[in-house]
């Protein structure tokens, strides 16, 4: 998912300044990886070059960050096409926990791997309580609730994996040792 499409989405309801877009992004996607203002400006430049946005006017005072941008009809087409497109399920599942368990088995042995998994489980459960508090707080926005749901389901999947991994640690270690 490119930032360009996200910015187009945020421009769909009307023109905005670059800085305003960054603020909108932070508000709409509170738990997403933060973006830097420079990324926003660079992406806007690219959208401008591709004819997907057009300058909508400059405030008194001028300066690069005071230009507002509007979505062009071509931008709208691009946004609609992107929204309708299914995201490819990731082919490579990055699982830093598995890497650590595998190496713990190699370097430190079964007990260390099991101990690590137990502590990781406790940390995951603590994080799940935090997200649940966020989610059930009546002041949390819909975007916040959606993000918390996503995080909770992923942490839950990790936990199931951790339980299976604990049960597998012994046989894994047999496989890994020459």
């Amino acid at each position: 998912m490119a930032l360009g499409h996200v910015l187009l989405g945020l421009l769909a309801r009307g023109g905005r300044h670059g800085y305003d877009l960054k603020r909108q992004y932070d508000a709409r996607f509170p738990m997403a990886k933060p973006i830097a203002p420079a990324q926003v400006y660079a992406t806007l430049e690219r959208l401008l070059r591709d004819g997907l946005v057009a300058p909508g006017g400059t405030d008194r005072g001028g300066g690069p960050d005071r230009t507002s941008y509007e979505m062009t009809p071509a931008g709208r087409l691009e946004l609609d096409a992107w929204l309708a497109e299914v995201e490819a399920p990731t082919p490579f599942v990055s699982n830093p926990l598995a890497v650590k368990v595998t190496l713990a088995l190699l370097v430190a042995g079964d007990d260390a791997a099991a101990d690590y998994l137990q502590r990781q489980r406790a940390a995951h459960r603590e994080r799940m309580r935090e997200y649940t508090r966020v989610k059930t707080d009546p002041d949390t926005s819909l975007a916040g609730v959606l993000a918390a749901d996503y995080a909770l389901n992923h942490l839950d999947a990790d936990l199931r994996w951790i339980d299976t991994a604990l049960a597998r640690v012994a046989s894994l270690s047999e496989e890994l040792r020459p």
Partner: protein, 248 residues
């Protein structure tokens, strides 16, 4: 994460505490010396694999089953040695229970089911039914007031059972799998409501669940494995497997 009940013999600050509980069914042990304690107003989740002893633990703490050894204290008093009549009175007046199976009386309507604990406590029929109506509303099943359990979905019956468990505004709620798995938005809403209502009332909740997403609603969680607190040591199955690996 888990602070165990203190071992000084006073259980100070704990509203409810089980100490070194042992309980077997015939010759098979279900609880093997587990200790657990909870403070007033706390929501405690009890998790662990199927057959680990979660329900047995809850039944012992709620005074429904008597442990073979160990003790249960509530509000500074030992209750596991109480007579059946005393324990049953405690359950009627200060405890609310919400169990996995066979909760609603099939011959009664939802409203009558919810009103039942109040009627048993001597409340008149009309105010009892009014209170029942309020609780059914809280769990968004007011429109089922005149329905019998056979005319409800599993989730709806669970909400009615929840209303019945809370209608006496107990000090401690014992809930075994209160929402089943949290795979529906409806289940999540019921749980959110349960937590909201019990927190507002300052109730203490002991909630058994196998679902980490349900457990995440609690303030604290204890994990039980093979009838003992899971303190992070390898399980017996794992120990066995490790033993084999080591013996090679």
């Amino acid at each position: 994460m888990t602070s165990p009940p203190d071992d000084t013999g006073t259980d100070e600050g704990l509203l409810l505490a089980g100490r070194a509980l042992v309980r077997s069914y015939g010759h098979s042990p279900a609880l093997r010396g587990i200790s657990v304690g909870t403070r007033r107003g706390e929501i405690l989740a009890i998790t662990g694999p199927s057959g680990s002893g979660k329900s047995t633990l809850l039944l012992c703490l709620a005074g429904i089953l008597r442990p073979d050894a160990g003790e249960v204290r509530f509000d500074g008093r030992r209750i596991d040695t109480d007579s059946e009549a005393e324990r049953s009175r405690l359950r009627r007046t200060r405890f609310g229970v919400l169990f996995q199976f066979g909760q609603l009386v099939p011959e009664l309507t939802a409203a009558e089911n919810v009103a039942m604990p109040l009627l048993l406590a001597g409340v008149k029929r009309r105010p009892a039914l009014t209170a029942a109506g309020t609780w059914l509303e809280r769990f968004e099943v007011a429109d089922l007031a005149t329905h019998r359990p056979t005319e409800m979905s599993g989730g709806q019956a669970q909400r009615v059972a929840m209303a019945r468990a809370l209608v006496t505004e107990p000090e401690v709620l014992f809930a075994d799998e209160p929402t089943g798995a949290l795979d529906t938005l409806a289940g999540e809403q019921v749980l959110t409501e349960l937590v909201r209502v019990t927190r507002q009332a300052g109730m203490t909740v002991l909630m058994v669940t196998h679902d980490a997403k349900v457990a995440a609603y609690a303030d604290r969680e204890i994990v039980i494995r093979d009838g003992m607190a899971d303190d992070g040591a390898p399980t017996s199955a794992l120990r066995g497997a490790l033993g084999r690996a080591g013996a090679r």
